[in-house]
């Protein structure tokens, strides 16, 4: 191909390169810089606002300061929210996909019904579900139509908290969680790779867990005062609405994966005497593992930036269902605390980056390797 065509190709791309360089990378850098200042307060929107370098003071305030308590609860909410959304949407989506993979009559109709919530905006979903979850109506009175007692749960206004822990002990809890993950993972691999499972996973897991149990008191306190956080039950309604909206999406992903498995392979497995359970467990599910990874990435990304749905369901000022993304909006655009808002945004960005960057690198390697 001729050279001046290559130059034309590059110049066609150039406007997009410049726009993304500025609007994505430049802006992320700018937000980080803002988060290191003290920009905020009444004169924040003046023509020449006063901005002094403040180091990591905003981050210190968020994680260890007196006023950062609501942000820390938001962060805890976001963790529970992400985990429940992943479990719910992937679990239900997988079940729906396996059911529809049997090719029942009306498959297209069922698929449409399970997927239509994806077409709605979060504001529409939130408005509808706020009405669905009204305490004396909607979901709560559904059991009466089957002859049962109405539910009494106050979905969005409950003030109950379960799984409480003291933020002071955060380091210990993180160590225990890591140990538990290592041990469970170790047992998972024990049959296939006993050596690797025992040495690399089970042993460190037990050492870490036991060490924390014995000498956990020596770990530094994460906060200077006691501060209880936990799973606010009011977030259950938001989780329910999100699972309703996104389980059809994971279903569509898995269904595309299952359809991609050739009928020959399926027939061969059935001939070998594999039942439906064995087929999905040993053949279909391992083959759609890349889809599970994609679903985890996309759903985590969605749960990290969740803003609209909570805004529509409980309003922006409901502390019990708070989320860092919502907190960022309130801090920045209601209170004009730009530096503090930028710090929250950077925290969200860093959490997202820890799984997005490896994902993009591996898909980059795959593209290079594939061609």
């Amino acid at each position: 191909m001729r050279n001046h065509d290559r130059i034309k190709a590059f110049f066609t791309l150039l406007p997009s390169i410049v726009l993304l360089a500025v609007f994505v990378y430049g802006f992320i850098g700018n937000t980080f810089w803002i988060s290191l200042t003290d920009w905020g307060g009444v004169a924040a929107l003046a023509e020449e606002p006063v901005r002094n370098y403040a180091g990591f003071a905003n981050y210190a305030e968020l994680f260890a300061g007196f006023l950062g308590g609501s942000f820390r609860q938001d962060l805890v909410n976001a963790v529970f929210y992400s985990v429940s959304l992943l479990a719910g949407a992937i679990g239900i989506g997988l079940v729906l996909a396996i059911l529809l993979d049997n090719k029942p009559c009306g498959e297209a109709l069922f698929r449409t019904v399970f997927l239509y919530p994806m077409a709605l905006s979060f504001i529409v979903t939130g408005t509808i579900w706020r009405w669905m979850l009204a305490p004396q109506g909607g979901v709560n009175i559904l059991p009466t139509y089957a002859g049962g007692q109405p539910l009494r749960f106050r979905w969005l206004s409950s003030t109950d908290t379960v799984l409480q822990f003291d933020w002071q002990n955060l380091l210990e809890i993180v160590c225990f969680l890591l140990a538990a993950i290592l041990i469970v993972w170790g047992f998972w691999l024990l049959r296939e790779q006993p050596r690797k499972a025992a040495i690399r996973l089970l042993l460190p897991g037990v050492v870490l867990g036991g060490g924390t149990w014995l000498w956990g008191d020596l770990l530094p306190r994460a906060l200077f005062m006691e501060e209880m956080h936990g799973l606010n039950l009011a977030t259950l309604g938001i989780i329910l609405a999100t699972v309703w909206q996104y389980s059809g999406y994971t279903m569509a992903l898995y269904l595309a994966g299952f359809t991609g498995i050739s009928q020959d392979l399926r027939d061969a497995a059935m001939l070998d005497g594999a039942g439906a359970t064995a087929y999905y467990r040993h053949i279909a599910l391992p083959m759609v593992r890349p889809i599970t990874i994609s679903a985890v990435i996309i759903l985590s990304h969605i749960s990290l930036k969740m803003f609209d749905l909570i805004f529509a369901m409980t309003g922006p000022d409901n502390g019990a269902t708070g989320h860092p993304a919502l907190n960022m909006y309130l801090t920045t655009f209601r209170a004009n605390e730009f530096a503090r808002g930028a710090a929250i945004a950077i925290v969200l960005f860093l959490i997202a980056a820890t799984f997005i960057i490896p994902y993009l690198i591996s898909s980059y390697r795959q593209r290079r390797g594939g061609r």
């Binding site: 997927l115 905006s121 945004a345 993009l360």
Partner: protein
């Protein structure tokens, strides 16, 4: 043997129908509530059919939301057109005119799709203010076009990767250059790509809320912001928000029901790995 199969088939249908009913419950509640008069709406009777059909809520909601619907239409059509056309050109370069570093550049493009948009919101807000674009539709269109580039480029790149290189080579031998190949060969083949991408962008932009509320003044609020204001507050009579929800959802729902195949292809394109 036959009996066993019928039993499990029956169970399959029973489960599917139950699940489908559960998924449709919110839609059912929305429709019946929107058709009731405010006086008829009460919590204990929320699942019951309206006594008489009352279309007044739709008239009222349309009256309230009309400026927002107009804003959203202008915003969505402009931003979808621009980002789709740019995405097509980018995808053409990324798929057919690879240069050293183009794969890395493409990965850097994709990164823009996965950032939580909160992280660019403050500079975006101040940049638009400095450019005198804050508050109106042009600024919002600009934001949607720029941050739509990663996904549109991705869908078109994957689409064009399926067009055989031999077509390109024969055209090159005939003396066609960069743009001639695009307009004579690539563009005529990319109608499905344009349908998938523009439907996807239309859906995303129509449903977007964060920028709508942070970057526009009242007169330029899109439909999502209008609906949030209509439904917000404590003492709402629920017929109005429900009618508004149906109106806000209808354009995208219609696309989904009529052109579901293309909608799902856009959905699947969002997962980067093929």
């Amino acid at each position: 043997m036959t009996r066993k199969i019928t039993l499990s088939t029956l169970a399959l249908y029973a489960v599917l129908i139950l699940l489908a009913a559960a998924y449709l419950l919110p839609a059912w509640l929305t429709v019946i509530t929107s058709l009731k008069t405010p006086a008829e709406i009460s919590l204990p009777r929320s699942w019951e059919l309206p006594a008489t059909l009352n279309l007044g809520s739709f008239v009222d909601a349309f009256h309230l939301l009309r400026p927002n619907i107009v804003n959203s239409l202008v915003l969505t059509v402009c931003a979808t057109l621009l980002s789709t056309v740019l995405g097509s050109l980018n995808g053409y370069v990324f798929a057919k005119w690879k240069f050293p570093g183009s794969e890395i550049l493409f990965t850097l493009f994709l990164f823009g799709m996965f950032i939580p948009y909160q992280v660019i919101l403050i500079p975006l807000f101040h940049t638009l203010r400095a450019m005198n674009l804050y508050g109106g539709l042009p600024g919002l269109i600009l934001a949607h076009v720029v941050y739509g580039l990663p996904i549109t480029s991705l869908i078109f790149r994957n689409f064009y990767a399926q067009i055989p290189d031999s077509l390109m080579e024969s055209a090159t031998l005939d003396g066609a250059g960069f743009y001639a190949i695009y307009f004579r060969i690539i563009f005529p083949l990319s109608i499905p790509g344009f349908v998938v991408t523009s439907l996807w962008q239309f859906t995303q932009i129509w449903n977007e809320f964060l920028w709508g509320i942070c970057l526009t003044r009242h007169t330029a609020n899109p439909i999502t912001v209008g609906l949030a204001q209509l439904a917000g507050g404590q003492a709402v009579s629920w017929n109005l928000p429900m009618a508004g929800s149906i109106m806000a959802a209808l354009p995208v729902l219609l696309i989904y029901i009529l052109l579901g195949r293309y909608f799902i292809r856009g959905l699947l394109a969002g997962s980067v790995k093929e």
